[in-house]
């Protein structure tokens, strides 16, 4: 078996300050191709801020974020998505008044070759047709096809999460960032999600980097775990290593009660 690890995402000494507040303080981490890596830590540790630095919503105060060796500095969020990083949001952000089908179809446009004239005058029928077929295929794979004409906001919570992941997949990413995918799910739903994440990783040849609070999920599938507290990396390693790390236990039990 080939054991050469190809680096997909790399953060080197990333600092993010808002005015006088340092949300991330010298974060360095790596995610390798095909891995499922988790970023955990108490509330307010700076996990979502780290995601926002990767996806270009925030520009880090200092430090380097690179994707497949390419520095992401100064790149806008849409540019970064185009490079192959897709994400979901902690508080689901669907196009709520549009249908399930349109939600996914919009994401497909990223890889389309058309312009506003060909699109308006319907000269892009081939492209449009391809996007629709791919959307249909993706929705079938995700068991969302029956719901394709439903308005996104009318779906139950769990399905909205699934749709958000499907929409992220539609951009044909290599790296998928999931921000608390199991938030608000019961143990059974969480278990289903756990299997689902592994399944999509294998099916779409993805690398997954996720923020999660459900420790069952994290310990079951993450190859490696990074622990963040007050913006600083306090531990990293396999699930056993993290479970036995005194500093991590301290951070969770001593720092905040809602872990």
């Amino acid at each position: 078996m080939n054991e050469v690890k190809e680096n997909v995402l790399k953060m080197e000494n990333v600092v993010m300050q808002f005015g006088g507040v340092t949300a991330i303080d010298g974060l360095s981490l790596e995610v390798n191709r095909g891995e499922i890596v988790a970023l955990i830590g108490p509330n307010g540790a700076g996990k979502t801020t780290a995601f926002n630095c990767i996806t270009g919503i925030y520009q880090p105060t200092s430090g380097v974020v690179s994707f497949k060796g390419e520095n992401l500095k100064g790149k806008s969020p849409d540019c970064i998505t185009r490079l192959g990083i897709a994400r979901t949001f902690q508080n689901i952000r669907l196009f709520s008044n549009l249908t399930v089908f349109d939600n996914v179809l919009i994401a497909k446009h990223l890889r389309a070759h058309d312009n506003v004239f060909t699109a308006t005058l319907r000269l892009n029928l081939k492209e449009e047709d391809r996007m629709r077929r791919e959307t249909e295929k993706l929705l079938r794979e995700q068991d969302l096809y029956e719901l394709k004409d439903e308005i996104a906001s009318s779906l139950p919570y769990g399905l909205q999460r699934r749709l958000e992941i499907a929409r992220a997949l539609a951009t044909s990413p290599e790296l998928l960032l999931l921000d608390e995918p199991a938030a608000g799910m019961n143990p059974q739903e969480t278990q289903e999600l756990t299997d689902f994440i592994v399944k999509i990783r294998d099916q779409y040849h993805l690398t997954v980097f996720m923020i999660e609070h459900h420790m069952d999920l994290v310990m079951q599938i993450s190859e490696r775990i990074y622990v963040l507290n007050f913006g600083k990396l306090i531990a990293q390693g396999s699930s056993e290593e993290i479970q036995n790390n005194p500093e991590v236990i301290e951070a969770y039990l001593g720092g905040s009660e809602d872990a």
Partner: protein
């Protein structure tokens, strides 16, 4: 099920043809008797022109979610370009008799369609420039900045330095009118048709994505600025076209024609029709324009049984109109159509529900 579906489709096609025939029939009838119906024709023509600009405003405000209030400024650009290019060369000395005409434009003229398109392009180019700074602003700042730009455009048009081009505060006269109501109809149908095609295309979907959630749209690889700019520029292009049409309709224009109140009028049409509905905007344009004329009797003194009612005097109509408008804004915020579009199913459904309601009451 499938059989039913195709029958429905056939029914819709027949009804569509019928509707087109009725519209053409009405226009033909009016055109044939245009001296008897000049009042009705003018209401219909104005409604159609407003429909074009209302749909263009809906494109940015309703479909892209940008609260832009610059419509009047872009209409002014379209109107002036069209006017300058179409006023017959022989009549120009009499139009510009006060400050003379700039030699650059003295002999410049273009056929009507080309002039309208050029008017639209000038408006679009101006929008592209304005868009670079203002489209980065958030909702209400954007509204006030676009409003401001419209006022600046108007001030420039009225400025003394522009006298030899825009004829300053005297405005432009002798603009050739429409040859027939069909010309207005064709321009309106083509303009709105293009916008509908755009809204239903992949780019239209991107506009809607930006409207729904800017951050999610960006995460889906949509460039916010390009998308907003595109919507803004295209909307301004059609606002320019409708401005040109308005110039042809009015035959004479000046910078006062394009005050902020014009933008507000268009906004009201969009709101009454339903923000996010093209057919709503078209319907709104007709309802508002015709409504304003029909309410005219409020302005006439009214005498009931020898007692003259003091409320009825000039201006009362607009008061009633504004109160109606507030009622719509406060209690029917979805307007006539909400975000729905016209469909025969919708019409039949509406009547069926009505009939059921009547039956239920009768019981």
């Amino acid at each position: 099920m499938k059989y039913d579906f195709s029958r429905k489709k056939k029914r819709d096609a027949v009804l569509d043809l019928l509707l087109i025939a009725v519209v053409l029939g009405i226009c033909g009838f009016l055109e044939a008797n245009k001296y008897n119906y000049s009042y009705a024709i003018s209401i219909i023509e104005r409604s159609m022109i407003y429909a074009v600009v209302a749909v263009s405003m809906n494109l940015v405000n309703g479909f892209t979610g940008l609260f832009s209030l610059g419509q009047a400024g872009f209409m002014a650009l379209g109107a002036y370009v069209t006017a300058i290019l179409t006023i017959p060369v022989s009549q120009r000395p009499s139009v510009y008799y006060i400050s003379g005409i700039n030699p650059l434009i003295a002999n410049l003229s273009a056929p009507i369609t080309l002039a309208l398109i050029l008017g639209g392009l000038v408006a679009a180019a101006c929008a592209a420039l304005i868009g670079i700074p203002v489209l980065r602003l958030k909702s209400d700042y954007l509204a006030i900045a676009t409003l401001g730009f419209a006022e600046i455009i108007r001030a420039l048009i009225a400025a003394p330095m522009m006298d030899t081009i825009t004829n300053g505060s005297y405005g432009l006269k002798s603009i050739p009118g429409f040859s027939s109501i069909f010309q207005v109809l064709i321009l309106t149908v083509v303009s709105i048709g293009l916008m509908v095609l755009l809204i239903n295309s992949s780019y239209g979907r991107m506009f809607k994505a930006v409207r729904e959630d800017e951050i999610a749209a960006e995460a889906m690889g949509i460039n916010l600025f390009h998308t907003k700019e595109l919507s803004f520029v295209i909307s301004s292009f059609f606002a320019g076209i409708s401005g040109g049409m308005l110039a042809m309709f009015m035959r004479s224009i000046d910078s006062k024609t394009f005050q902020v109140s014009l933008t507000y009028d268009i906004l009201l049409i969009v709101v009454i029709g339903g923000i996010g509905s093209v057919t709503g905007s078209v319907l709104g344009a007709f309802v508002v324009t015709a409504g304003r004329e029909l309410l005219r009797f409020f302005d006439e003194p009214l005498t009931v049984a020898g007692v003259s009612i003091p409320l009825f005097r000039p201006g009362f109509r607009m008061v009633i109109f504004s109160i109606l408008l507030m009622v719509v804004v406060l209690f029917y915020s979805r307007g006539l159509m909400g975000t729905n579009e016209f469909s025969w199913d919708g019409i039949f459904g509406f009547f069926r529900r009505k009939r059921k309601a009547v039956k239920a009451e009768g019981r």
